[in-house]
Symmetry: D2
Subunit: 279 residues, 4 copies
């Protein structure tokens, strides 16, 4: 297969108000014949340069109403235009430009980059197969300074970790879900709703939070909440790359450190992942 | 000289509400004698490990009311404790944790990382010299999709750039300013005010913006606004690493692209910088 | 599942001569029951901290005769020690320290880091399944300044790429192969041989090279040579992330540029990949 | 001031044998008048695009016999061509392509990237001032597994570091030196000689090494050796960003770890630097 990455900006205006989407698109093709690999016969090969042109032309003609719709447009174009394409996948990722506000007033043409979780999506299709759409958020960093522990785990002669009932829970989340048969979904609205579910399930109620007995259970809570609140989601995968923090031992410096000063532990660096679907 | 970098978390509580600062501190020392370099005599050397302990102890004892105050505390400690220190500089940078909100309600112990410009500061002192404090913001990415041009520049046989009066202005800002004689400044409040000045000078009025004839002039506008609005600032340096975007030529694809689709130009990558002070 | 990353150094001596391996190990476990996700029951969970201890103890006891043997040791340990482990994968990657030489004389205890392709391996096992071993090289950057072209490709209205018969071929290679049933292989020796095959197939004979009609064909040549020369390899995957270079058009600067000055093209960024096995 | 970065490839042939230099050039200009900042008057501004064209034209016309000569060419061009330029600095850095060898035979047109220390240089000139040339190496990672200690340092109540006489010495070096009045130096030959001095002073004799009582002393040894062996060097700056390794305590795992397994310590991360010149 071959794939390539294209980065570009799509502007549009409504009256004097300007809108911007900056995206990175990665298109991934597999051809019906591997003859370019085996024989050096390029006659079916669609050059990277042509793929770039097609993506830019689609952006110009259709705009980018949502990342998902744009990914669907790309898949449709390649499947209907090139009979030598056996499989196409379009990955689209957004640069998180947000409109600037001055004293609460939105600016008509100025933006600030706010990378508090990056939105992405994927559409893929095999020839004669269904079009499948995924969406997700990545690089979302969250922290709870309390209401998290890790106890009752398996122990043997290699165990040195003490049990803890009041640790820091901190990590970077990657969440990716698939939509079922794609009807006329409002992808932008659904994405925002799922992001809120993730934050809510991570943090719990604002006034008291909710105790997390492990990273794994928190991952599962996120999945359960999304599946229960958002019927369009069929399967959701959550990966948590966690950062551990150790309370600094200040005894030999003559001080008691009551979980006030903590240092991140670079090694080991842990990750837990789970994929959960509907029955 | 020697320097080192320490990363840690400082938590504190007010009732049940939790507060968090995660910082990276880089302490930089120069000793009165270079004997450890020339002779391998370590008797005056303060090990990295000791510096780390001191920084953590200061964080534990004093907390981090502002980055600037913490940097000042570090300078003071080294100057008053070690007579072999000729110069000390403390750089402090913040991990931009923000309190999570659910439906507008602030969460008591959950946070999200929002890196829309990183706050940092520096305090430095030579023995018998004044304590000087700098503060700044870096990695602040801003974009204006119109009201920017570049015309009337110097031309010769190597010039290929066309004049443009409606281009994209986009870049990453680094701003660093110095405070005069440090009295009891409210560093947190001043920093927020300066950030607002930068955004305002970059973007102009929300309903119409303000035309930028060059990156350089925009840099100067930011400096002028900060100096005029914030009397505590003595000198301000602004560096703009700009990203160029080219409107994609779609003529040979049979389309007219009216500044709708643009691609970033990786090379050349430009930067302009200026330092401006009061008379 | 859960995984984690541990970085460490393993030293050993033979007489006064010192040897060093610095590796990054990523162990990946799946348990027989997902109860820690669903119920928050941690009783079967092996903490990251314990996994780290086990990896370090194995390094201490067994040494690292080859990355592959160390990965096998890790798999064996987890499978035989923990009956709750359903699947284990160990990824091991090397920091490329090479012994320093002074005027051709090897130094007994000094090393330099030479990252001209990073060696890695993977061993994986399901309970009651066979132990499978992969090895590979990544971040290997190669360039041919001639004997490469791209012609005869598919054309339509979106094609703008000209045919070229004398371009630069440049890219970063990722190669990963699997060994069949693991007997007493000399993994270090085989790895070196495969690396030589990759370089040879990429470059062709030293005095004249070999024409590459496409990135894809070069990928295939590498695979064919490895499979023909190294009987232990069962399947080989090659990914080439290529960098395009454009000859700078200097006509409007009054100069003829005969493929002397070229600039890298950042977008589109292409990649081609192929997996090839034995019949 | 303004600066910009340009990356390109320069090829040349001698018979059928091909040679390649890939460089990143950063040109840095300061104009005699700041009117473009203060007044938005662009009439003296040399656009980034023009600077890029000039650098590429110089590469085409002059070739790149050495990085230093190319940086000198750039400075000369700007100073003699543009009377509005008050100061110019050209930084040139090399992508470390090395000719491939097959069984010891050099390949006529194939190369491999071997980043074991990156060569760079800088030339700078103020109008009416001398042309000053610097050269250097960066990202050079070296390790000694023994013959290094740190003892007899300053101690107080914040000291927790034990004295050590057999630790690992490991770090990344940045070395930058200035040449005096530039005559017809063979910059390529001198650079290689200095690189050898750095390695030799770091490692000591191949059969026994030389004891390092501190990072600082090793930095000084490198400087002393370069100044004594290479008369063209006037001043040399060395920065060592060191990585600390701790011997893993395996007592509570029932094992004795005799400096066999060590883990890198991410925090604190230390750095020591020194600049040394001739009397």
């Amino acid at each position: 297969y071959g794939k390539n990455t294209i980065k570009f900006l799509r502007l549009h205006k409504e009256g004097k108000k300007q809108f911007v989407k900056e995206v990175e698109v990665c298109a991934h093709l597999r051809l019906t014949s591997p003859q370019e690999y085996l024989e050096g016969n390029n006659s079916l090969v669609i050059p990277t340069d042509t793929i770039k042109n097609i993506v830019l032309v689609l952006a110009k003609k259709n705009g980018i109403s949502s990342l998902e719709q744009f990914a669907i447009d790309i898949c449709n174009h390649f499947m209907t235009t090139f009979c030598q394409v056996a499989y196409v996948k379009a990955y689209v990722q957004e640069v998180p430009w947000q409109r600037l506000h001055e004293d609460g007033v939105p600016h008509i043409h100025s933006f600030i980059c706010v990378p508090d979780g990056i939105r992405f999506c994927e559409a893929e299709q095999c020839r004669n197969g269904p079009l499948i759409v995924f969406a997700g958020i990545k690089d979302l960093k969250l922290m709870k300074t309390t209401q998290s522990g890790f106890e009752g785990f398996y122990k043997n002669e290699h165990t040195t970790l003490p049990e803890r009932h009041d640790r820091i829970l901190c990590g970077e989340f990657f969440c990716k879900w698939s939509y079922g048969e794609c009807k006329d979904f409002d992808f932008n609205c659904i994405w925002k709703k799922i992001r809120e579910c993730i934050l809510e399930a991570f943090a719990g109620p604002p006034d008291c939070g909710e105790y997390s007995p492990s990273y794994q259970k928190t991952v599962n809570c996120i999945q359960m909440l999304v599946l229960s609140r958002v019927p369009q989601v069929q399967v959701i995968e959550v990966v948590l790359n966690n950062t551990f923090y150790n309370v600094v031992d200040m005894k030999n410096l003559g001080l008691t450190n009551d979980k006030e000063v903590l240092v991140p532990v670079e090694t080991p660096y842990g990750s837990c992942a789970c994929t959960l679907g509907r029955k």
